[in-house]
Amino acid sequence: MDAVLDTQTGLQAFRDKLQEAGACHLEACVRCGLCAESCHYYLADPVPENIPAHKLARVADLYRRHCSPLGLLGLGRRLDEKAADDLVDAVFGRCSLCGRCSINCTVGINLPRAFRAARAALTAMGKVPRDLQGIVDLALASGNNMGITREDWLETVSWLEEELQAETGDPNARMPVDKQGARILFTVNPREPKFFPLSLQASAKVFWAAGEDWTLASEGWDLTNYGLFNCNDKEAGTITQALVDAMERLGCETLVIGECGHGFASARWEGPEWLGGTFPFKVRSFLEVMDEYVAEGRIQLDPERVSEPVTLHDPCNLVRHGGIREPQRRILRKAVKDFREMAPCGTENFCCGGGGGQLAMGAYKERRIGSGSVKARQVKATGARILCAPCHNCIDQLSELNKEYKLNVKIKSVAEIVADALVNPVPAGEP
């Protein structure tokens, strides 16, 4: 027999996460339906269940019954097994929390905020999709979301350091680990050491060219945080704490988040809220740092080296929810010969379909790939041969879309493109 649903715990988590702002959002929808076409799920499969307002209504029903005075009049929907399952389908199964609907809402509703509160309730009641929770559990148990051992991590870094030295011809090119007092602590997505080591090497090459004082950490190096997606703030806070501990241990000045949308949003925007205090250090995206290197002339780029047309994907958590919209554009305009914006772009860009933890939830894979058709059309329309995505989650999804929709593009991070365009510094003493 199934365990009895602990609705009290669920509702408490819901209220805690919702707060006043979320409640106001839930009270405001007029079901005008104008948000429908802003959602990639609806565009790919135009059924009412995919309209953002339909998903929101499921959450609003819960609120009305259990949190609003109208619940006393029997309005809204009681939280029971069936209501919880419907909510799972709406907020886990049909939403990547990209927030495109909220900027297009006629009223001004922050829909992802309400969806996150519903996710928090479902997670508290054990209704979170198991594979998504599995990633959070793995990160909590092993210190990174792929269970990479300390030995493997250090071995990968040391191997990449040799590769970097060979590539740059500089035997002093370093990928320091646990360098005490370095200016920058650079954190990475575990997908890099595991599947995309060249991307990590590219970042290291940029630091090398800029002559940066930087380090990696032997522990607390994983920037990802799937607590942002299961919406359990306690677990999310524990994962963030590992980064804070690494900063404290190494005494670095700035925590730099490698190219990852949700990792940036977690450390920059949500982390301090999860941990209940302002960090005693700065949190910056690697894009901001590279942008500064270019602006200050610390690195030189030759756009002739990247002559194929390049287009740029805007990861929602970095751009729409993170406020990092221009640095990557300024960099690419200097690094490539033919830069083509998608339509629409920037804060209006579409999600790739892999966000909100979708990449981790096997049950919704078909919907995820289907919803990505919108991004695939955008990419194709640019005619670009290189698709630049400053987010390793997005890169995973985009790689699948590349195969599924035959886009025939090379997918690269910004650092990889910058590394390709780099004019190596002239070693001291040479003319």
Binding site: P69, G108, I109, H321, G323
Partner: protein, 192 residues
């Protein structure tokens, strides 16, 4: 008129109770240093972001947007018409009623919008449209007599359904503006 006063009191009390219920969920202090200004985001939310060119959802549905504006203007004029028997108010109210009727027809005839709709949508629109229509026809004695009763019905129902957005629109938009403002996302750059 006593029924009107009672209906207004009921509406105010119930809406007030809903605002209090929302406020009781509290706000947590924000610790992440802001990139932009919450105030600038709120200002933009109530100005630039409401312009027809600011949102793809509106750019693609300009007729609906215009009907919505007219509808709301008509309802506001209808409330004013209760107190001031000016012909200009009746004209605006009538135009608003027609816009409301158009939106109702759209809701009933577009399959996905119908799928999204609930009884509340039809009732809310029906009450507000009837109110505006009566205000528009208020030069006719029977319409003038029915107008206050339509207003009573509207006020009684208002806090029970989506018409509560009369209050929550402002609160919701303010929160959204502050959110995007702090993060440096709003005000949006003009090229977008």
């Amino acid at each position: 008129m006593l029924p009107l006063a009672l209906a207004a009191a009921w509406c105010g009390l119930l809406l007030g109770a809903q605002v209090v219920a929302a406020r009781r969920l509290g706000r947590r202090p924000l610790y992440a240093p802001a990139s932009g200004r919450a105030g600038a985001g709120v200002f933009y939310a109530f100005t630039g972001a409401l312009m027809p060119w600011a949102k793809e959802s509106v750019r693609g549905h300009l007729v609906t947007y215009a009907a919505g504006i007219l509808y709301h203007a008509g309802i506001a004029a209808s409330f004013a018409r209760l107190a001031v028997p000016a012909r200009a108010l009746s004209v605006v109210a009538l135009a608003g009623a027609l816009a409301g009727l158009g939106l109702l027809v759209k809701r009933a005839s577009v399959a996905d919008l119908r799928g999204l709709s609930r009884a509340d949508d039809f009732l809310s629109n029906g009450l507000a449209t009837a109110f505006a229509a009566l205000a528009g026809l208020a030069w006719l004695p029977w319409a003038a007599a029915a107008l206050p009763w339509a207003c009573v019905a509207l006020l009684v129902y208002l806090p029970l359904g989506k018409l509560r957005h009369a209050v929550f629109f402002f609160l919701s938009r303010r929160h959204l503006g502050a959110f995007f403002g702090r993060r440096g996302v709003w005000p949006t750059a003009p090229q977008e």
